[in-house]
C-alpha cells in the first residue's frame, strides 16, 4: 500500500530517496534520475524487487538517490555484481548505472561480457565523453582532438562507439537516448526494462562543468530535427524539420537523400528485430558531420537469457538426481572400518 496515494500503485515520490541529490545544478544526470523515478512506478514491479548497482563516477552516485535497493560498488565492476546477484536471485530486476569511463575504460571487459552472456540486466550508460568526478580528463568516448585537463594538446585517441561495441558483444537490446529528451528517454527505459536479457541504453548526457554542449548538435532545439534520426521499427528512416530527408542504402553505404527525389519506398526501413546486426551496426556508424545521429532502439532480439539457462540446468539436474549430500560424499571407492572393542583412533 502506498501511503501517499492510498493505493497499491506506486508513484514517482516512492522512488525518490531522502538523500539530497548532489550533482551539479544543470547536470544531465538530474534529468535521467527524474525519468527513472517516473518510469519505474509504471513497471508494476514492487520497489523492493528492484536493485540498482553502479560503479564509480558522477553517474554512479545514482543508487543513493533512488529509494530501491542499491549498491554503489567500485570502478567498472557493477556488471559483475549484477551478474552474481542475478544468479542468486533471478527474480529481481537489476539495473546497472555506469558512465563512459566506468563502463568502457576500466570496466570495458565486464561491459562486453555481461552483454555477451545476455545476463538479464539493464545497463544505463551515461555518456558525457569526459571524466567528471576527477575534473575533466578525456574519456574513451572523447573525440580526437578533445582538449581536456589531461589532453591539453588535444586527445590523440580514437573514441569507442558504445553502440558498436555492444553490437560486437552480441547484445540483444541496444538503444540510445538523450538526457533532455524526457519523453523519448522514458519510452526507451520502458523498452529496456521489458526486454528479457541484457539491455544497453546509451544516454547522451551533458556535463555542464567539464564538457558542456558536447551533444549540442542534437539537443539544440533549432537544429535537433536536422541532426537526429528517430528509429522506429518497421518505418522508413526519415528526418529533417518536415521529414523531408531520408536514408537510402547505396550498395553497402548509407546516404542521405531527399524523399521527394527517391520516393519513400526506396528508403531504408528500420528493423530492430533483424537476426543479423548488420543494419544496427550500419546505423551505429552514422553521426555528424555527414549523417544524423540515430536515437531509439537499434536492436531488440530474443536470445536465451543467462540466468534462466543457469537455473534450467540447476532444475534439470535436480529433477534427474536427488540432492543427496551423502551420496556426493561417497563418490568413488569407499571402505568401512568396523567398530573395534577398545577402538582404534586416528
Amino acid at each position: 500500500m502506498n501511503p501517499e496515494t492510498g493505493t497499491g500503485k506506486l508513484t514517482r515520490k516512492d522512488f525518490a530517496a531522502s538523500q539530497d541529490v548532489r550533482w551539479c545544478p544543470g547536470c544531465g544526470n538530474n534529468a535521467i534520475l527524474a525519468q527513472m523515478q517516473k518510469t519505474l512506478p509504471e513497471l508494476g514491479i514492487p520497489r523492493e524487487n528492484i536493485v540498482i548497482i553502479s560503479g564509480i563516477g558522477c553517474s554512479s552516485r545514482f543508487p543513493y538517490y533512488m529509494n530501491t535497493y542499491g549498491i554503489h560498488s567500485i570502478h567498472g565492476r557493477a556488471p559483475t555484481l549484477a551478474m552474481g546477484l542475478k544468479c542468486a536471485r533471478p527474480e529481481l530486476q537489476v539495473w546497472v548505472v555506469t558512465g563512459d569511463g566506468d563502463g568502457l575504460a576500466i570496466g570495458g571487459n565486464h561491459f562486453t561480457h555481461a552483454l555477451r552472456r545476455n545476463v538479464d540486466i539493464n545497463i544505463l550508460l551515461f555518456n558525457n565523453r569526459i571524466y567528471g568526478l576527477t575534473k575533466g580528463q578525456y574519456s574513451p568516448t572523447s573525440e580526437i582532438g578533445a582538449r581536456t585537463s589531461s589532453s591539453p594538446d588535444g586527445s590523440i585517441e580514437n573514441p569507442v562507439n558504445p553502440v558498436g561495441l555492444a553490437i560486437g558483444s552480441e547484445a540483444s537490446f541496444i538503444a540510445r537516448t538523450v538526457d533532455v529528451f524526457q519523453k523519448h528517454m522514458s519510452g526507451v527505459l520502458r523498452r529496456s526494462a521489458d526486454h528479457r536479457g541484457a539491455s544497453l541504453v546509451e544516454i547522451a548526457q551533458n556535463c555542464i562543468i567539464f564538457n558542456d554542449a558536447t551533444w549540442g548538435h542534437i539537443t539544440d532545439p533549432d537544429n535537433r530535427l536536422e541532426n537526429v534520426l528517430y528509429l522506429e521499427h518497421g518505418k522508413p528512416m526519415r528526418f529533417g524539420k518536415q521529414g523531408e530527408k531520408g536514408i537510402r542504402l547505396n550498395g553497402l553505404r548509407p546516404e542521405v537523400v531527399r524523399v521527394v527525389d527517391v520516393g519513400e519506398e526506396n528508403l531504408l526501413v528500420h528493423d530492430e528485430q533483424a537476426s543479423e546486426p548488420t543494419l544496427a551496426y550500419l546505423l551505429s556508424r552514422m553521426g555528424p558531420p555527414d549523417f544524423p545521429t540515430p536515437l531509439g532502439v537499434f536492436r531488440a532480439v530474443e536470445k536465451p537469457v543467462y540466468s534462466q539457462l543457469l537455473m534450467e540446468q540447476v532444475h534439470n539436474a535436480q529433477a534427474e538426481k536427488a540432492a543427496d549430500l551423502d551420496a556426493l560424499f561417497r563418490q568413488g571407492e569407499t571402505w568401512t572400518v568396523p567398530e573395534q572393542p577398545g577402538g582404534g583412533k586416528r
Partner: protein
C-alpha cells in the same frame, strides 16, 4: 624359482615414488595404489608433482611427472620424505628423482625406455644402467616393462601405441605383487573406466595381471613385503584431495544453512578443480559462474552474497592480487562470503603447479586502507572440508568476507577421509531481518558486531550500501573524521570478536617443554611427525597448529611465553613469524623454505635437534 620359495617380510611403512613422462600415466598409477592401499586399511598420504606444461617434450626432464605415496601401518601425516622405492619409467624420470631415493632403496626401471634417444633427451651421456655403482647403491631391478607389456597383449587386436599405454598398469601390477596388494580394486576401476572400449579394458587388465605375475615368478624379486592395515577410527572412508574436500565443504555449508551455493571463479592452477567439481553438482543447487576474469569472479561473489546465497570465489595468489580491490569492497559492504586461495609458488606466475604458503601476509594486509578480515588455513587435504565450513560459520555469524588459505600441496595431495554424517553437524543459522521498524543498515549485533544481512526483496527496508565511508550505524555516506575512525575501529573489532567464538589453541606435547614448533597450513603434518619423533628420542618439544590466523586464538600469547624457544617452519620467508613477533613480542625463530615443495619430516627434525642440543 616358484612363488613359494619367496620370502615375505612385514614393514611398518613404505614411501614409493613413481616417476615418468607426463604421458606415462604416473598420476593414475599412483592414485590406484593409493586407493588399493587405503582399502587394505593402510593410512595413506600422497604428493603428486607434475609440470605446468600439459605435454612438455616427451622424454625431457621438464616433462617428468611424479607421484609420491606414503602408506603405513601407523597413523601418518605426510607423504613421506625420501622414497624407499623409486619406479622410473624413463631416463628423465630416473635423472630427476634418483637423488631422492634412500640408500639401498628399491629402484625399478623400465630398461626398454633407456634408448639412446631417451638418454640424450634426459641429458645422459652414458646409460646409467650400465654404471655398476647403481646396482651397489640401490636394489636395482631393470625390468623390460615395454617388451613384457607388449608380449602380454600380443593376442589383442590393438595398435602398438595403445598397447604401449598399458605399461603403467604392468608396473602397477608389479608393485602390487611387491607389496602384497590385491588387484580387485584396480580391475574394477579398469572395467568402469573403459566400459565403452572393452578391448582397451582387457588390455589394461592383462597388463596389470602380467605385472603381478612377473613379480611372482621372476627371480629378480626374492622378497615380498607386507604392510598391515592401520587401526583407523570406525567409519566409512574414501580417498580425498584438498580441492574436492573444499568443494564438498562448500556444498555442505550451504546445505547446513538451507541456501543455494554460488561459486564464481576464473580458471587458475591449482584451484581450477574446485570449479570443475562444483559445476557437476548442480543437483545440490550449486550455481557456478566461470567469469571473464578474477575481478569479475570477486564482483559476482559480492553480488551473490548480497542476494542471500552462500557465495564463494576460489582462486590462487595471482588471482587474489586482481581481486584485492573488490575484496576491500566486500570488507566495506560487510557481506558474508568466502574467498578460497589455493596458494602456489610466487610472485607473479611463479611456480603454478608447485606449493607454497607465501600468501599469508597478502590475505592479512593485501588491500589498501585498514581492511581486516578473518583468515583460516587448512592443515591437510581432508581438513579443507572442515575449514571451509568453519569459514562460512564465521562469515555468517559476523557478516564478513572470510579468507581460506589452502595450498597446492593440500589441493592435489590426498589422504583417507572419514565420511561425515550431516546429522552430526550443527546447522548454520542465518537470519535475514525483515522488520523495517527502526532498521539501520549498519546497526550491530552486541556480541558479534555483525550488521544485519538484509536481502533485496524485503519490503520497506530499501537502502543503498557502497564503498564510501559511512556514518555508524545508519550507513549514510560520511567523511566525518570521527565517523571514519569509529567505522575503522568497528570493522577491526568485529574481526577481533571472532576470537570469542573459536576454540583455544591446543598443544601436542607438554606445556612445559623447552621448544614449541608452531605451524599453519599444510606444514602441520611434517611438523607434528617431526616433533613426535623428537620426543621419542627424549627431546623436550611440543607442537601447536594454527587453523585461525586472524584473529589468533585468545590463548596464543599466553602459550607462547611458556616456551623458551618457538620455531615456526613455513613455506615462505617468515610471514607467520613476522606476525607472531609483531603481535606478541616473542623472539620466534623463523624456519623458512622456498623450494616449491613441502617440508620433509627430516628437515624439521634436524632443526629441532639443532635448537635443543
Amino acid at each position: 624359482m616358484s612363488a613359494a620359495a619367496k620370502t615375505r617380510e612385514a614393514l611398518e611403512q613404505v614411501t614409493i615414488l613413481f616417476s615418468g613422462d607426463s604421458g606415462d600415466g604416473m598420476q593414475l598409477t599412483g592414485s590406484q595404489l593409493t586407493t588399493t592401499s587405503a582399502i587394505l586399511g593402510n593410512d595413506v598420504s600422497t604428493l603428486p608433482d607434475y609440470p605446468s606444461e600439459i605435454r612438455a617434450p616427451a622424454g625431457s626432464v621438464a616433462g617428468v611427472s611424479a607421484f609420491q605415496l606414503h602408506f603405513s601401518h601407523q597413523e601418518i601425516h605426510t607423504p613421506g620424505d625420501n622414497p624407499d622405492v623409486l619406479v622410473a619409467m624413463n631416463p628423465a624420470g630416473l635423472k630427476t628423482n634418483l637423488s631422492r631415493l634412500l640408500p639401498n632403496g628399491v629402484l625399478i626401471v623400465d630398461q626398454d625406455a633407456f634408448s639412446e634417444r631417451n638418454l640424450a633427451k634426459a641429458g645422459y651421456e652414458n646409460n646409467p644402467l650400465d654404471d655398476p655403482e647403481l646396482g651397489t647403491c640401490y636394489q636395482l631391478h631393470p625390468v623390460p616393462v615395454t617388451t613384457l607389456t607388449l608380449n602380454a597383449l600380443d593376442d589383442l587386436d590393438l595398435k602398438r601405441t595403445v598397447k604401449m599405454r598399458c605399461k603403467n598398469f604392468f608396473t602397477l601390477g608389479l608393485v602390487y605383487w611387491l607389496y602384497d596388494r590385491p588387484l580387485e580394486q584396480s580391475l574394477e576401476w579398469i572395467d568402469k573406466k573403459f566400459a565403452r572400449i572393452p578391448l582397451v579394458a582387457e588390455a589394461n587388465r592383462l597388463a596389470l595381471q602380467a605385472g603381478y605375475h612377473y613379480g611372482d615368478t621372476s627371480e629378480a624379486f626374492a622378497v615380498q613385503w607386507t604392510v598391515p592395515g592401520a587401526s583407523n577410527e570406525a567409519g566409512t572412508y574414501r580417498i580425498i584431495n584438498g580441492n574436492e574436500a573444499a568443494a564438498l565443504g562448500f556444498v555442505t555449508a550451504a546445505r547446513l544453512a538451507g541456501k543455494p551455493l554460488v561459486y564464481s571463479s576464473y580458471p587458475i592452477t591449482p584451484a581450477t578443480d574446485v570449479l570443475n567439481h562444483l559445476s557437476r553438482w548442480k543437483h545440490m543447487d550449486v550455481r557456478t559462474i566461470q567469469t571473464e576474469d578474477e575481478i569479475a569472479a570477486m564482483g559476482s561473489a559480492i553480488g551473490a552474497a548480497y542476494g542471500g546465497a552462500f557465495s564463494v570465489t576460489g582462486t590462487s595468489g595471482p588471482g587474489v592480487c586482481l581481486k584485492s580491490e573488490a575484496i576491500g569492497l566486500a570488507v566495506m559492504l560487510e557481506l558474508p562470503l568466502v574467498i578460497l586461495n589455493v596458494q602456489r609458488g610466487g610472485p607473479s606466475t611463479g611456480l603454478p603447479t608447485k606449493t607454497e604458503q607465501a600468501d599469508l601476509l597478502q590475505a592479512m594486509f593485501g588491500r589498501h586502507g585498514e581492511s581486516p578480515l578473518p583468515i583460516l588455513a587448512a592443515a591437510s587435504p581432508g581438513d579443507c572440508f572442515d575449514t571451509v565450513i568453519e569459514a562460512f560459520r564465521i562469515a555468517v555469524r559476523h557478516c564478513t568476507p572470510v579468507f581460506v588459505l589452502s595450498e597446492g600441496y593440500l589441493a592435489n595431495g590426498s589422504e583417507p577421509w572419514r565420511i561425515p554424517s550431516l546429522q552430526e553437524m550443527e546447522p548454520i543459522v542465518v537470519r535475514h531481518p525483515f522488520d523495517p521498524e527502526g532498521f539501520q543498515p549498519y546497526a550491530r549485533d552486541a556480541a558479534t558486531l555483525a550488521r544485519p544481512w538484509v536481502l533485496p526483496g524485503t519490503a520497506g527496508m530499501e537502502h543503498c550500501i557502497g564503498g564510501l565511508e559511512k556514518h555508524p550505524p545508519t550507513g549514510a555516506v560520511s567523511y566525518a573524521p570521527e565517523d571514519h575512525e569509529e567505522m575503522c575501529r568497528l570493522r577491526a573489532d568485529k574481526v577481533a570478536r571472532v576470537a570469542d567464538f573459536i576454540p583455544g589453541l591446543e598443544v601436542d606435547g607438554s606445556l612445559d617443554a623447552i621448544l614449541l614448533v608452531l605451524t599453519w597450513g599444510g606444514t602441520c603434518g611434517a611438523a607434528l611427525t617431526a616433533v613426535r619423533r623428537a620426543r621419542e628420542c627424549g627431546r623436550s618439544v611440543a607442537h601447536a597448529h594454527l587453523r585461525y590466523l586472524n584473529p589468533f586464538p585468545q590463548n596464543l600469547g599466553k602459550l607462547l611465553v611458556r616456551y623458551e624457544k618457538v620455531l615456526i617452519p613455513e613455506l615462505n620467508s617468515g610471514q607467520l613469524a613476522l606476525l607472531i613477533r609483531g603481535r606478541y613480542l616473542v623472539d620466534a625463530i623463523s624456519f623458512p623454505k622456498l623450494r616449491g615443495q613441502p617440508f620433509t619430516v627430516r628437515e624439521i627434525e634436524v632443526r629441532i635437534e639443532e635448537l635443543l642440543s
